[in-house]
Amino acid sequence: MSKSSFSTHLLVSSLVVIAFFVMAPNLVSAYRLELLTIFLINVILAQSYRLMATTGDWTLCHYILMGVGAYATGILAKMAGLPFYLVMPMACVVTMIVSLLFAIPLSRTLGFAFFIASFALGEFVRHVWLKFHYPFGGARGINGIPKLEIGQGGEWYFIDFWDSRNFYYFTLVFTILTLVILFRIDRSRLGDTWKSIYTDRELSESIGIDVTKSRIMVFCVSGFFAGLAGSLLAYQIGSIDPHNFGMVEMVYLIIWCVVGGVKTFWGPLIGVLSMSIIFELTRPLAEWRPALFGLILILFLVLLPGGLETLPARIRELLHRTGTQRGTG
């Protein structure tokens, strides 16, 4: 396929997808619309997590960063009484600053130690929420976060984002924005630089890439969008607590990325989509459900380590190979 026909393909299919999402409130039931909203927030989260993974750094604290955005939103909106158009950017920036504080010690570690250390730092933040009742509200968290609205009831430009359709569109706008920005970064020289760090750190260093700075920067950008997802979540629920940002949620996030793959931009989207569908369809399994997810995690990591995005290539490869193949190593 030539480059240009590929991009027309991409353009057409993304237009179809966007059209579906724009029309969705008229196409699906009220509850399904709620699911779509959750899906959109998760897409932001998974996509920002993938950005981290491009430098080879997998973390176990992404949900905590999302929580930082949510807490910042709660505090700024409820205690400082600021309107959302100030709260949201500030929440993202606060998350970015916390990410920076995480990234500085973390950038001294690599691979598995990085992974575990990120978890430990995340636990530290979670305990800060629990410990400091002012302003974080302890285990209870922050509730009664003001509604998201533009203008006041009665004014002609009043929009009440408490209304689930409106909130859906609100989230959709941010999801598209996030995707556009992250897609551009992915395709940019900067994105290539970050991916090169994953391939060969020493080489990157020797051609003048400041690997430490880049890793810190990726962490911060990723944190920024995790903060955005957190901010949206805080407005959606109106009440947040440390339990929302626990290990179980983190494992779901990892499952999305493992199932979808992180090599290409679209992997995490595929992951979130397919797992969300499976997640909803398997509700009747109740207590058995975690076992199913455990099984999915194992099967993917063992049989399809690159995630669904590599499935077509794998199938092609399997068809190509014939029985004469002998195992290596």
Binding site: I181, R184, I185, R187, S188, R189, L190, G191, D192, T193, K195, S196, T199, D200, E202, L203, E205, S206, I207, G208, I209, D210, V211, T212, M217, V221
Partner: protein, 255 residues
């Protein structure tokens, strides 16, 4: 002050002195060889001057600036770039992309530019320069080959191409012909000479292969047991008694 100079450089690993009080001066445009028996401390020396290790004592200056203790990437930014003994490349990218990633120092790759779409690496002039480098190194046919599908020799050449793409003033090559057959070696020697002649790049060469070093270098520094044993022109070195004893060997059947 020389273009590149090393003063009393020492590196200890625990009790082991891997580099001891090494000094040398390299002039602009020179091709300098560093040789020595195995374990003499060549790689350590290389890692010290390229910023991978921090010296225990001593100092390295480049263009009048002290670079010892500086991070590798900072040194690279100043114009002193190293290559690796192993084939080192970004395996998921094509040859041209590899070179073009290496060009990033001379582009406006910032986050903002990435987001507004102003740092596409297929920008006309940087692309032109990347192609120029690739073609200059005789890899025109392989521009769009994935780097990990290249032959050993070409992989090593790509390493040099990437170093060149950063527009260095000092190129530090770690055993550039290791693992090459004689044909490939000749290509590489020729290439290093052309790089110096065309771009005026100063070259610092750590190498085991005596023929390559002797053919290429104006001046050679010999290390042994972490210390500078001798320094001089290829002919001086060839006839230096101490070097013959420690390295070249009296019995030429084992060299």
């Amino acid at each position: 002050m020389s273009f590149f100079s090393v003063e009393n450089l020492t590196k200890k690993f625990g009790g082991l002195v891997a580099n001891n009080n090494i000094s040398m001066d390299v002039e602009k445009g020179e091709i300098r060889g560093v040789i020595g028996p195995n374990g003499a401390g060549k790689t350590t020396f290389f890692n010290l001057v390229s910023g991978f290790y921090r010296p225990t004592s001593g100092k390295v200056t480049f263009k009048g600036q002290t670079i010892s203790g500086m991070a590798t990437n900072k040194i690279a930014r100043l114009g002193a770039v190293r290559t690796f003994q192993r084939p080192a490349l970004f395996s998921d990218f094509t040859v041209l992309e590899n070179v073009s990633i290496a060009q990033h120092l001379n582009t406006n790759a910032s986050l903002l530019n990435a987001i507004i779409g102003h740092d596409n690496h297929r920008e006309a002039d940087s692309l032109e320069r990347a192609i120029e480098i690739v073609d200059f190194l005789g890899m025109a046919e392989d521009r769009d080959t994935m780097a990990n599908n290249l032959s050993h020799g070409l992989q090593r050449q790509l390493g040099v191409a990437m170093a060149l793409a950063t527009e260095p003033e000092l190129l530090m090559l770690d055993e550039p012909v290791a693992g090459m057959n004689s044909g490939e070696k000749a290509v590489m020697v020729n290439m290093i000479q052309k790089i110096r002649d065309k771009w005026g790049v100063t070259v610092l060469l750590v190498e085991h292969d005596m023929r390559t070093v002797m053919n290429l270098c104006e001046k050679i520094t010999v290390l042994d047991f972490g210390e500078k044993l001798a320094e001089g022109s290829p002919d001086d070195i060839r006839s230096n008694r101490a070097v013959i004893e420690a390295y070249l060997g009296a019995d030429d059947s084992v060299t």
